[in-house]
């Protein structure tokens, strides 16, 4: 049976994640270990844990003109490192160069 996690334990879990993973990347296709990346990675500053969640500061990633961004990921380092998670997002075409601004949240249910 599954035990109920108390909030303090949830905070501990998200604290562990936030310590390890602070970098975010944009991708033109599903990433595997950071592949298909476009632009440089950006780093968030995680806020304090509360209620089993931490919200990070906005991360700006510069995207070149003509690029379609389809995925974003969370990584452990500015280059290489370990990929923690990725999400398939609605495709966005940057007809002109611009910025992808990611505001991350990590939550332990």
């Amino acid at each position: 049976m599954a035990a109920t996690l108390e909030t303090a334990a949830k905070n501990t879990i998200v604290d562990g994640f936030a310590t390890a993973y602070t970098w975010f990347a944009a991708h033109t296709a599903a990433p595997s270990s950071g592949s298909n990346q476009t632009g440089s990675r950006g780093q968030t500053t995680w806020g304090a844990a509360s209620g089993g969640a931490r919200v990070g500061s906005a991360v700006d990633i510069s995207i070149g003109a003509g690029v379609t961004v389809s995925h974003v990921s969370c990584q452990s380092a500015s280059t290489s490192g370990t990929q923690a998670a990725f999400e398939d997002i609605a495709d966005h075409v940057f007809a002109a160069s611009g910025v992808l601004r990611i505001t991350p949240t990590v939550t332990q249910a």
Binding site: L5, I13, V14, D60, G98, I102, T103, P104
Partner: protein, 302 residues
């Protein structure tokens, strides 16, 4: 597809005069008061600062004569002009086909040559606004203004439109066209003859859900509950099959009385179901709902 032209003000020291050398995308620069500025920027660290004192400053981009131009730029007004001035226009030589003007009261109006065809409410000073302008010889010009919370969205705060002065145009002009005193910033200026030009900044929220579950099994031994440490999938499937040391797929086949089925196939066979995912079939076997995979497996009684 990339847009036709982007006008970047990056790479220059604060206060550097804008010329066709510092911004090669421009074909001509006229007047005084246009500089690269580090005071604020939408993209990068520099924007165009137009700061005129009873003077005009404009920059021009020439195109092959055409019927339509779409243009997007951001504007931050510090000081409204003492006299109404043109921020952007499309022209055939010096004949204005359509123009976006900033009035002394902060409103934006669209001009069809010399006729005002639409007027917005005033833009607040001291904030970025995004202007998305579509000047089309097919008959209309439309300006979408994005402000405040709408700044980087696809939802305009205001939309105004009016007639376009018939005929093609062969130049695009930005700046402050009349001799007046004003100060404003422009950034992320792009043009294209056909494409819709969205925000320079695309904002998304990324939610990372962690689903760590704390599971344990309990057994009654001599009247006392003894908590067992969490066990893995192989342990539980061997427990249920009465086997030892088998890999999960082997133990699942042994438990289900099947051979050579994949793990999920064997478990579906055991449950008398088809096509359930791993957590679904294990909850089915356990008589539970919503438990995570390992928790559901641990809850299955022999």
């Amino acid at each position: 597809m990339a847009v036709e032209k982007e006008f970047s003000f990056e790479g220059q020291a604060d206060g550097t005069t804008v010329t066709t050398t510092t911004v090669p995308a421009f074909d001509a620069v006229t007047g005084t008061g246009g500089t690269h500025s580090s005071t604020r920027a939408i993209l990068g660290t520099r924007s165009l600062r137009v700061n005129t004192a009873a003077a005009s400053w404009t920059a021009r981009y020439d195109v092959t004569a055409r019927a339509r131009t779409r243009m997007r730029y951001y504007i931050w007004v510090v000081t409204r002009p003492a006299a109404v001035t043109i921020l952007s226009s499309v022209q055939l030589s010096t004949t204005v086909r359509a123009a976006v003007r900033l009035d002394t009261d902060g409103t934006i109006n669209l001009r069809n040559s010399t006729t005002t065809v639409a007027t917005s409410t005033a833009l607040a000073n001291g904030a970025w606004h995004r202007l998305d302008w579509d000047a089309d010889n097919a008959g209309t010009q439309t300006l979408k203004i994005f402000s405040g919370a709408n700044l980087h969205t696809d939802t305009p705060s205001q939309t105004i439109s009016g007639a376009y002065n018939s005929g093609t145009h062969d130049r695009i002009v930005i700046g402050s066209s009349v001799n007046t005193t004003t100060e404003f910033f422009m950034d992320a200026i792009v043009t294209d003859p056909t494409q819709a030009l969205s925000s320079a900044i695309w904002e998304i929220s990324l939610s990372i859900p962690l689903t760590m579950a704390l599971t344990q099994t309990t057994s009654m031994i001599g009247g006392d509950f003894v908590a067992e440490p969490d066990k893995g999938m192989a342990y539980h499937l061997n427990r249920l099959a009465g086997t030892t040391g088998l890999a999960p797929v082997g133990a699942a086949n042994a438990w289900a009385g099947t051979t050579n089925k994949a793990l999920i196939g064997a478990l579906n066979a055991k449950a008398g179901t088809t096509g359930l995912a791993l957590d679904g079939v294990l909850n089915e076997l356990a008589g539970t709902t919503g438990l995570a995979t390992l928790a559901a497996l641990a809850a299955i009684e022999e």
